[in-house]
Structure formats: structure tokens, C-alpha cells
């Protein structure tokens, strides 16, 4: 088997006396949808921010396609082929939908220092193709500030795909969306992953979404990796039920 897309070994991070992430190791392969779940405060977002370079880990190694990226700044990690969407959408509100995607394309080509040719005329076709893929082709000219939240999430997905990433990090991709939109968006992500053979790591609170789409699930609790495996085995794991799902939902899960 070839080198995994992402290989995390013994990742740890403490804030003062609190061990936010402790000795977490896992592997993510191409074409795989890996879910990272856990109760609030389990360390999911800290874990994510370390992968993307927003936070430096205290110890541990993160390898992307075999290259050590531990502690590198987010810009560098992005250049190596990692796309990201945020829990609370982060888009450029003073730009149109298309311009948001164009920005990512422009940077992908190292063209952000060009100062003469108008930006709005660059990579239009490519940007529209990406928008088309996420179902936003018609809204390219609208300002990002007036979009509905679900649409913003789609724009973020298009932006995250612009550098042709090998790895996509999605922090709660369906947070704040209506149930129907959630299913559609995750289906879209799953389709894109299988089309392009991208590896996806996502965190999620909605168990329906997780169990319907994840190929593999990791459960984080108080910074430690509690269980890892196929949805079925995680579902059956007594420890996970006890600590994460809680005893009251046992009946529902079964």
C-alpha cells in the first residue's frame, strides 16, 4: 500500500494544566472519509487547528504524504495540498461568490502579487466549474455577505477544492444547517471525495451524518483517542456508548 495521505503520530497539546490533546495517532488514506467525533471539549478543534498549522503541537509528528509538516504555518500547509472549511464559515464578505473562489485559484498559481490585470477576469471558467460542482453556478455574481448559511458552506467547499487538495479538513461541515441541507452537503462531499480520491477528515456532532457517510470513525474523549474503526464496530463499542453517547441513548443506538 502507498504512503497514507495523512499520518499523525503521538500528537499532544496542553493549555496550562489542561491536556487538550494527548498522544493521538492515526492514519488517513486517499479516498477515505474519516470522522473525528467526541463530546464538547474533547479536543477535536485543537486537533484540527494543529493539523492546519493554526496551533503548534507540544509534541508529536504530522506527516502529509510522507512529509513532516509539524508546526508549519497554515499558508505552507495549504500549498502542500490541504484544503479546509471552518466551523463558522470564513469567507471574504466584500467579494462575490465567484471572486472568493478566484482568490483561491489566484493564490494557487502564486499570482497574488500581480498588480495590473483585473482579478475579476482571472480564471473565470475554472471558478465557475468549481461553483458548478457544488451547485452554486447561478450565484457566482452575488455578494458573499447576502448568502444563506448553507450556501456559504458550499462556497467554502468550492474554495477548499481550488488548490486541488489531497486532503480536505472539514470542521463541523453541517453545523447550523437544516437537516435536509446537511444530508445534501455531506452527499456532495462524499461524491467529490470518491471522484477525486481525496482524503477527508471531518468533525461532526450530527450522528446521522457521521454514521451515514464516514468510512471510519475516531472517538476522542478528554484529549485521548478512545476508539477507532468502522462505524459498525464503533457503534458496538461499550466504552464509547458509556462515555460518549451516554447510557440513555443506548436503546436508540441499538
Amino acid at each position: 500500500m502507498s504512503t497514507p495521505i495523512l499520518e499523525v503520530s503521538n500528537l499532544s497539546k496542553a493549555y496550562g494544566g489542561v491536556q487538550a490533546v494527548q498522544d493521538v495517532s492515526f492514519v488517513l488514506n486517499a479516498g477515505e472519509l474519516l470522522a473525528l467525533i467526541g463530546p464538547n471539549g474533547a479536543g477535536k478543534t485543537t486537533c484540527f487547528n494543529m493539523l492546519m498549522g493554526q496551533i503548534k503541537p507540544d509534541s508529536g509528528v504530522i506527516r502529509l504524504k510522507g512529509n513532516d509538516i509539524t508546526g508549519r504555518p497554515p499558508q505552507r500547509i495549504w500549498r502542500m495540498g490541504v484544503g479546509r472549511t471552518f466551523q463558522i464559515t470564513a469567507t471574504f464578505t466584500s467579494m462575490t461568490v465567484r471572486e472568493n473562489v478566484q482568490m483561491a485559484l489566484i493564490n494557487h498559481q502564486h499570482a497574488s502579487r500581480r498588480w495590473w490585470k483585473p482579478a475579476a477576469a482571472t480564471d473565470v471558467a475554472h471558478a465557475d466549474a468549481l461553483l458548478g460542482r457544488v451547485g452554486m453556478a447561478e450565484q457566482g455574481d452575488r455578494a458573499c455577505s447576502v448568502l444563506a448559511y448553507g450556501d456559504l458552506k458550499r462556497v467554502e467547499l468550492a474554495v477548499a477544492l481550488a488548490n486541488d487538495p489531497d486532503l480536505l479538513l472539514m470542521d463541523e461541515p453541517t453545523a447550523g444547517m437544516a437537516p435536509k441541507e446537511r444530508i445534501e452537503l455531506m452527499q456532495l462531499a462524499a461524491d467529490i471525495v470518491s471522484e477525486r480520491g481525496i482524503g477527508v477528515l471531518f468533525t461532526e456532532h450530527d450522528m446521522d451524518v457521521v454514521f451515514a457517510h464516514a468510512h471510519r470513525i475516531m472517538v476522542l474523549n478528554r484529549g485521548c483517542l478512545l476508539a477507532e474503526g468502522a462505524p459498525k464496530s464503533v457503534r458496538a463499542n461499550a466504552q464509547v456508548r458509556e462515555i460518549y453517547l451516554g447510557s440513555t441513548v443506548r436503546a436508540e443506538v441499538e
Partner: protein, 646 residues
């Protein structure tokens, strides 16, 4: 020994007023996020009202102290009036827009004070029973200084108790961290803001009143204290009262000892300290990084659109007018005199300067309080080139933007590491340092020292300090008023078009991307600091070009071309015109320069200018370019302005 201790105590006593003013400023900023430039004016009013109250109540015993207290309360009430009548109406405006409102208040208060109390300096009444001096190690120290030394710790403890032991204080601290959350908890923000304005203004008033026996009252107090107060707030850390105390003591001591050790460098010492502190501690001595809490929700800027038909027509019309004006001047010299051409040249120069500042401030989201450094830097670069190498004007016009750009590269390297108000204050500090270097002709001192060392004969003067550099006139071919007019119009219009072009290009978009969402910018590979540094340099270069046009239009350059007032003028122009529009700085600069020119000849012109600014702020909180959005504008067929003129 005695000398040292007395200097130390004098320093601590002089820090008292500074601490009171700075703590008030810090409290107001912490809660309302308003940079209150009028705070120095409140300090001045505290002094004047104090004098009047002492005269009315008599200066014996309790009455004296009561008078000072009444002055503080009266200034607090004036602060409340400013909040209720003015600031409350513009909280939703773009960030820092309130700043120009408070600038209007400064101008109004200056003239009102002049009108009520007259132009003469007033000697402060002595405090009862404290007019003597104590002898310490053989040196004399005024008794009143001991009172002042005690005031700062007492106020510090009082504020600490207020903020940590009362419900109101807890709310103020909570609002400093996260305003929206406090509002969501059902706290009436209006009363909180009003209360904070009262407290902060009263502290400034008290500061003005208690320093009366030492400094008296005069009309320059407002500007003299405001820069120092900002330095104290920033060095201490915005929103930190303890930090303000520490910094006030530091600056107070620095100034008293500084006069003895480096008599020529007191102007610059304070800013040097601020620059060093900010470079090593970007949030001040005791400040914390700004929490990502919720600020006011600002309406997002509309996407950039290429000029529409309306803007093209207006633009062509203005250009045609500018090109035809000299023709009209030649045909009808009695109506369109020399003076009109001179005024238009001045307007065009400031238009370019304001557009350069807007480049970094609007799309870049970085507000510079010290952009005159590059305007003046360009002017001096050109003038020095001509003075020492007899370079022709054509060369000087290249040297100015390059010199200003080099200065911007140097300053920018430090500044772009900071954000928000700290960025603004570091640019101000560098601008003041640059100003002081020109004002005190530091290059000549260096040359002299080097000359003595190596045995050269150094030049006597380089920048010539206050005397300025004279005799910088345009080349023969551009020496007529009309030719220089066309040269200015041509260069300014070309400069504006280039700046505009850059903003529509990937570089300008990247700049805006970083302003909109630094998080997303990093997540699509943008090295934001590097782009900001380049943008700062471009902005500096165009400000420098404006400076070159300026020096040749006047024939001379003085340190005033770099002073704080010049930086603030540019800031006002951009904000007045509308920071969220590319046309804003042009409209703002033209309007401001023109108004300044009209009012300049009148007595009480400050009042008129200040009142006009306040009126514009209240009527057009999104800047002059939003005129089309108002009902009057729509009736005139101007609207919708903001989008159309984006």
C-alpha cells in the same frame, strides 16, 4: 543625591495629570472602542472650569477642593453630552468613524474656550495651605507636588475598587471583553456607555483641575496632553488601568529626567519608548491580545465593481473641468484668479495623499495615524536632493516616491506585525520620530560628530530644523503657474488611476481578502503580513509623490509637513469621504481642503470647521459618498450612492 530625589519626585508628580487623563481614555476605549481625540480637550476644560469655580467659591480651605471636584463633574457632564448628542448616533458607522466626530469636538471646544476665557494664559490659583516648599536633602520641592504624587495611587485604588467590587464595574469589565454578550444578557448598553463616558471625561477634567497650581490653563493644553495620553494608554496596554499607571509614571519620569540628560530630545523620547515597547510587547506592558469577542457588527462592504456609466460621466466631467480651468483663468483672470489655480493644485495634492492613505486603510484595513511621515518624507527627499546635488526637478520627482517607499519599507517592517489601534499608534510613533529628526536636524548633528571624529569639515545644516529648506522651485519649463497646474493634475490623475488599477488586480483583492477574513486568507495560502508590507510601501510611495508636488508648489518644506496634524488631516479626509469607497478619499480630500480654505479667513474658523464636520458625521455616517443614499440625495437624483460610486 537631593537633586536626583527631587527630580524623581517632580517626575512622579507630573505623572499624576497624565495618569488621570490616560486612565479615562483607556476606560472609554475599552468599553466603547471609541478613540476619543477630544479627551485632551476635556482635560483643558477641567482646568478652565476649575479656575472659574475657584474664583466663584473662593480659594480657602474646603471651597478650593470642592471647586476642583465640581470642575471634574462638569467635564463629566460634557462628556455625557457628547455621547448622547453625537457618538450615540454613529456607533453603527464604520470603525474609527467616531474618531472624526471627536475631532470635530476638539475644534469646537477650542474656539468655545477661546470665546469664554480669552486668549491669555491663566495662572492657576494656589492650593490653600500648600503654597510653600519642603526641603529634601537640601533641595526644594513644592508642597503641592506631594499632593499630586499621592493622587495617582489613590485614584488607581479607587478605580480598582470600582471595577472589582461593584456591579457596575463588573459590567464595564465584561463589556470590555465582549460587548454583544453583555447586551445579550439584558444589560442596557446605552446607560453603560453613557456612564463610562461620564467617568472617563470626569477623570480627564479632574486631571486638568488638579494640575492648576502647577501649570495653570492655556489653549494649547489639549494638543499637548493628548499625544502623551495616547502614548501612556498604548504603552500600558489598552484597557488596562494598572498598565496606564505604570506607563504614566514611566513617561513622567522619562520627561523630567530626559530634559536634564538630553535637553534636545524630549520631543522624541516618549515616542521612542512607545516604539520600543510595541516592537517587543505588541499589546503594551500589561495589555492582552485583543480577544476575538464580538465587536459591533459592521455592514459588509459591497463588492468592487468597475466604474459604471454614472461614475464615468462624473469622472470625465471633473477631468474636463480641471483641464479647462486654466483656459478660463487666461480668458477671465478677474473671476478665476491665480488663487483658484493655487487652491486646485493644493486640493489635487491632498487628493493623492488621501488616496494613498486610503489604499492601506480601506482595502488594507490598517489605519495609519502617521502617514505624514511619507508625505513629508517625499518632500524632504526631493528638497534635500535639490539642495545638495542641484538635481533637476525631473530627478527629484523620482527621488521623492523612492525615498518615501524606503522609509515605508523600514517602518512597515515593524508596523505590519501589529494590528488595529496598536498598528495605528506605532505608525504615529515612527512619524513623530521622523518629524523630530527633521525638526532638530539630527542628520547635521550626526555629520558634525562624524566630522569631528574623522577630521572633516561637516556641513552646518542639513534639514535646517524649523527654518526648513527653501528655494525648491520647478524646472524652467514647468515654472509658470499654468504649467505646474497641468503637471500636478496629470501626475495626480495618473497616480489615482494606478492605485485604482492595483486595487482591482489580484494584489488589491488579496489585500481585501486579508482584511475580510485573516483566517480564510491563511487557509488559502496568503502570506498576509508580506502583502500588507508591500501595500504599506506602495501607499508610502504615492504619499511621497504627493509630498514632491507639495514642495515644488510651495518652493519650500518645513517639519510641519510631517507633523501629527498633517497625518490627522489625511485621516479625516479619508473618513469624511467614505472609507468603503474608492471615490471616498477623493471627495473627502477635496471637500476638506476646500472647507479649510473657506473657513481659514474667518475668525472662529475652528468652530465653523468643527461644527461642519460634526454635521457631516451626523448626516452622512457612511461618508460623503453616501449622500445618494439619503432622502435629500435621492431627491436630487444622486442615489444609490454607495454602490454606484464603489
Amino acid at each position: 543625591m537631593g537633586d536626583f530625589i527631587v527630580t524623581l519626585l517632580t517626575g512622579l508628580s507630573s505623572a499624576a495629570a497624565l495618569f488621570l487623563v490616560a486612565s479615562g481614555l483607556s476606560i472609554i476605549f475599552g468599553v466603547t472602542r471609541i478613540v476619543n481625540f477630544a479627551h485632551g480637550s476635556f482635560y483643558m476644560l477641567g482646568s478652565y472650569i476649575g479656575v472659574t469655580m475657584v474664583t466663584a467659591l473662593g480659594s480657602g480651605g474646603i471651597a478650593y477642593w470642592l471647586a476642583l471636584l465640581i470642575a471634574a463633574v462638569a467635564v463629566g457632564v460634557i462628556g455625557v453630552a457628547m455621547e448622547v448628542l453625537l457618538l450615540r448616533r454613529v456607533y453603527q458607522a464604520p470603525e474609527l468613524f467616531q474618531l472624526i466626530a471627536t475631532f470635530g469636538v476638539i475644534l469646537v471646544i477650542q474656539d468655545v474656550t477661546l470665546w469664554i476665557w480669552g486668549p491669555e494664559d491663566i495662572v492657576g490659583p494656589r492650593a490653600p495651605g500648600l503654597s510653600g516648599a519642603v526641603t529634601i536633602f537640601g533641595e526644594k520641592l513644592p508642597e503641592y507636588d506631594l499632593v499630586l504624587i499621592a493622587v495617582s495611587p489613590v485614584v488607581l485604588i479607587g478605580l480598582w475598587l470600582l471595577f472589582n467590587r461593584t456591579r457596575w464595574g463588573t459590567l464595564v469589565r465584561a463589556a470590555t471583553l465582549d460587548r454583544q454578550m453583555v447586551a445579550a444578557l439584558g444589560v442596557n448598553q446605552r446607560w453603560l456607555f453613557t456612564g463610562v463616558l461620564f467617568l472617563g471625561s470626569a477623570l480627564a477634567g479632574l486631571g486638568g483641575a488638579i494640575q492648576l497650581p502647577k501649570g495653570g490653563a492655556d489653549l494649547l493644553m489639549d494638543f499637548n496632553i493628548i499625544a502623551a495620553a495616547f502614548v501612556v494608554v498604548v504603552v500600558g496596554g489598552m484597557g488596562s488601568i494598572g498598565g496606564a499607571f505604570l506607563a504614566a509614571m514611566l513617561i513622567g519620569l522619562l520627561q523630567t529626567f530626559g530634559i536634564q540628560i538630553f535637553p534636545n530630545s524630549t520631543l522624541i523620547l516618549m515616542f521612542l519608548v512607545m516604539a520600543v515597547v510595541l516592537i517587543f510587547r505588541p499589546w503594551g506592558l500589561l495589555g492582552k491580545p485583543e480577544s476575538p469577542g464580538h465587536g459591533p457588527v459592521e455592514a459588509p462592504e459591497a463588492p468592487l465593481r468597475p466604474a459604471n456609466r454614472k461614475l464615468r460621466i462624473i469622472g470625465s466631467g471633473v477631468l474636463a473641468f480641471l483641464l479647462m480651468l486654466p483656459v478660463a483663468h487666461l480668458l477671465l483672470p478677474s473671476i478665476i484668479g491665480d488663487f483658484t489655480l493655487v487652491l486646485v493644485v493644493e486640493i489635487m495634492i491632498y487628493v493623492l495623499f488621501a488616496a494613498a492613505l486610503h489604499f492601506i486603510m480601506g482595502p488594507g484595513g490598517l489605519v495609519s495615524f502617521g502617514h505624514a511621515a511619507f508625505f513629508g518624507g517625499g518632500a524632504y527627499a526631493a528638497a534635500l536632493m535639490v539642495k545638495f546635488t542641484d538635481a533637476p526637478m525631473e530627478i527629484a520627482f523620482w527621488v521623492a516616491p523612492i525615498g518615501a517607499a524606503l522609509l515605508a519599507i523600514l517602518f512597515g517592517w515593524f508596523c505590519v506585525r501589529l494590528t488595529g489601534v496598536y498598528f495605528a499608534m506605532l505608525t504615529l510613533a515612527f512619524a513623530q520620530i521622523a518629524w523630530a529628526i527633521m525638526f532638530q536636524d539630527a542628520p547635521a548633528s550626526v555629520a558634525k560628530a562624524l566630522g569631528e571624529w574623522f577630521g572633516w569639515t561637516a556641513v552646518e545644516q542639513i534639514t535646517a530644523g524649523d527654518d526648513g529648506i527653501l528655494g525648491i522651485w520647478p524646472a524652467e519649463w514647468a515654472s509658470s503657474r499654468v504649467t505646474y497646474y497641468y503637471l500636478t493634475v496629470g501626475l495626480v490623475v495618473a497616480g489615482l488611476l494606478v492605485l485604482r488599477r492595483i486595487l482591482f488586480a489580484p494584489f488589491g483583492y488579496t489585500l481585501r481578502a486579508g482584511r475580510d477574513s485573516p483566517l480564510r486568507a491563511a487557509a488559502i495560502g496568503i502570506d498576509l503580513k508580506q502583502h500588507q508590507w508591500i501595500a504599506f510601501t506602495i501607499s508610502g510611495a504615492f504619499a511621497g509623490l504627493a509630498g514632491a508636488l507639495f514642495v515644488y508648489s510651495k518652493g519650500s518644506v518645513f517639519p510641519t509637513s510631517m507633523e501629527i496634524a498633517r497625518s490627522f488631516d489625511a485621516l479625516l479626509m479619508v473618513l469624511l469621504g467614505g472609507v468603503h469607497s474608492l471615490v471616498g478619499p477623493i471627495v473627502g480630500a477635496a471637500t476638506f481642503t476646500w472647507l479649510n480654505d473657506i473657513f481659514n479667513e474667518l475668525s472662529y474658523w475652528r468652530f465653523l470647521l468643527g461644527a461642519t464636520i460634526i454635521a457631516l458625521v451626523l448626516l452622512l455616517p457612511n461618508g460623503l459618498v453616501s449622500l445618494g443614499d439619503t432622502s435629500v440625495g435621492r431627491r436630487l437624483g444622486l442615489g444609490p450612492g454607495r454602490e454606484a460610486l464603489a
